[in-house]
Amino acid sequence: MTESYLIRGARVVGGEPADLLLRDGVVAEVGRGLTAAGARVVDADGLVALPGLVDLHTHLREPGREDAETVETGSRAAALGGYTAVCAMANTSPVADTAGVVEQVWRLGREAGLVDVQPIGAVTVGLAGEQLAELGAMATSAARVRIFSDDGNCVADPRLMRRALEYVKAFDGIIAQHAEEPRLTVGAQMHEGEVATRLGLTGWPAVAEEAIIARDVLLAGHVDSRLHVCHVSTAGSVEVLRHAKARGIRVTAEVTPHHLFLTDERAESYDPVFKVNPPLRTAADVAALRQALVDGIIDVVATDHAPHALEDKECEWAYARPGMLGLETALSVLLEVVGERWDLIAERMSRAPARIAGLTEHGRDPAPGVPANLTLVDPAARRTVDPGELASRSRNTPYAGMTLPGRVVATFLRGEPTVLDGKAVK
């Protein structure tokens, strides 16, 4: 018998204040003036209750780079960010390209018990882009993999991409593509444009992303399969997606908080904390991505949380590894970018990603009978990001020193708190 929690006065998805009784892993009652003998009371006056956030794109680094992050530390960072489920990318060492590795990650997630860790399987053996990994074995493993991605690498071979899209239809899988034509990004360091020209850094042209998305939506349409596009970063990609969706192609897309908020001018410091793949783009791209998120051309905000050890960032720009932390700041960045549009936030950060990933226990607004996966947010709070205070094992946040709105006060996973009073419970 687990403890019951009575959350008093939370505004569910920004609505009128209500009490929520969490019991036996589900939301037992929603109403005003609820009482429950023995339940622990959580004062949620002024707080907003959201369905627990779901991240479609997290790098937990375990196995292989436990110095940068582990399943446990990444899970804790996720819970503190308001997440109840994260999808762990496959580019670990060894690569998550077998049932054994995805089951290991899944089991580590269960043991940590802070969020549901849903492994993503690699599309190709070793992410090498040459031969399909045993997608079916991963799908039928205990980890029940549904999303497959070579993220970090693009599945560049069009024939292999076609086969992958077709093959996963047998188990309702989806291919999440890292859209980057590798021949157009040889040696690329940052967005190709005026700033790259000034800094003498090799450019990563927008067309390298757009060309792959255009090809892939046509392939997905041709074989009638599901395609998900990772970290969309350019205005041109938005136009390709708009066209594909209008044609009824089954494509979904995500954008990262940093691509909604930061531009390539950040590179001018040569501080690799701003190096990321795909790179930070221009203000015009940021504006187009924000609009696409509101319009629903982009379905999901996903963090691409990418922890890196200090030595992999405290170096020359060209030698630094790409990627930035995101789990503990995503909700604040989204509040900064779109404001208190709670239904939009719930849709893009919880419901839609849960649907895409097939996580039926997540992404559901708190209501009687629904699994009690939810987070309480204080929209009035502002906080200054201090890398030293992050729960992630790494420190590569691009938001250091910035003051951002919103604070996660509590997170519940199946009725059990993982975060209370803004602190991780374990």
């Binding site: 190709e192 444009g193 005026e194 790259a196 000034r198 003498g200 040569y270 501080d271 720009w317 060209a318």
Partner: protein
């Protein structure tokens, strides 16, 4: 000014002060004892991660003529080849009390990173495909001494602008000093948005012959043979035909115009021997001027400029 990392660090007054100081320094070279005591007891480290005979020797000569102690730290045969990070190298130099670090590095921005880790002055002696500000200063010095001014000159910079740190620093400095710059090369070797990225009014042309009749200065850039393999242009022969400077092309220039090259040259590729060895060529003078300009930079950074 504590560091010299970019041509953008120099406003017109500072750049002119450096050029004027360099002219003073040049008189030292004519003396029997080519040495000034200005930097006695100061330590200058040449930190070179790339092979560069002429730039390293030029800085070494400049520092020695100012009586500084010079330490040459080359990436080969040092702890760097054992995988030491730039930061650890920086802390080592810091602990040794380097007053100035002259750095050549294959990665753009490495001198900027270095400057965050050391207390001494950092001088960018070429970082990847980014900048080489002392080269721009010696080029400006050469133009001024040959043509009497910089403001109002039309300077054509020809060749592989995309990969050229010399071009970037020159565009910045020449813009600051009031010259008009036209970048000339095949479109594949002209970086995107270069017209606005560095200095307003920078022009781009793909047609060398059209630019030559109005050029006061033609600066030819080294073109590396490897670029051919990456399809920047079809062949060395075609490149030379379209963008190389040969005798007939040189004769399209106004009579007073000069021909510059930062070296090392590919004779027969971007420049023919007839041009390189002609009286218009300033290539050997540029080397001489390089020492004077670097003396001025070291002198001003390490003491003379507050």
């Amino acid at each position: 000014m504590r560091h010299l990392l970019s041509g953008a660090d120099l406003d017109a007054d500072t750049a002119t002060l450096i050029l004027d100081t360099a002219a003073e320094m040049a008189t030292v070279a004519g003396r029997e004892v080519k040495k000034l005591p200005a930097l006695r007891g100061r330590t200058v480290v040449n930190l070179f991660y790339e092979d560069s005979t002429r730039t390293r020797i030029s800085f070494e000569a400049a520092a020695k003529r100012l009586s500084a102690d010079v330490i040459n730290f080359s990436a080969k045969g040092s702890s760097v080849s054992k995988g030491e990070s730039l930061k650890d190298t920086a802390l080592t130099l810091q602990a040794m009390g380097a007053d100035a670090v002259v750095v050549r590095h294959p990665a753009a921005g490495a001198p900027h990173r270095l400057a965050t880790w050391v207390d001494g002055s950092v001088i960018n002696a070429g970082d990847g495909t980014h900048e080489h500000p002392t080269q721009a200063l010696l080029d400006a010095y050469t133009m001024r001494s040959r043509l009497g001014r910089i403001a109002g000159l039309h300077v054509a910079v020809v060749g592989d602008v995309l990969h050229s740190r010399v071009a970037r620093s020159n565009v910045l400095l020449l813009g600051t000093l009031g010259a008009k710059v036209t970048l000339v090369g095949p479109p594949t070797l002209i970086p995107v948005d270069i017209g606005t990225a560095l200095a307003p009014g920078t022009e781009v042309s793909y047609d060398l012959d059209a630019v030559l009749p109005t050029a006061d200065v033609v600066m030819m850039l080294r073109v590396q043979w490897e670029r051919m393999a990456d399809s920047y242009f079809p062949s060395a022969r075609e490149y030379a035909r379209r963008y190389g400077l040969d005798g007939p092309r040189m004769r399209r220039l106004p009579d007073h115009a000069i021909v510059m090259h930062p070296g090392p040259m590919n004779r027969g590729m971007e420049i023919t021997p007839e041009v390189a060895d002609s009286p218009r060529s300033t290539i050997v003078e540029q080397v001489t001027n390089g020492v004077s300009v670097r003396m001025a930079v070291l002198y001003l950074l390490l003491g003379g400029m507050t």
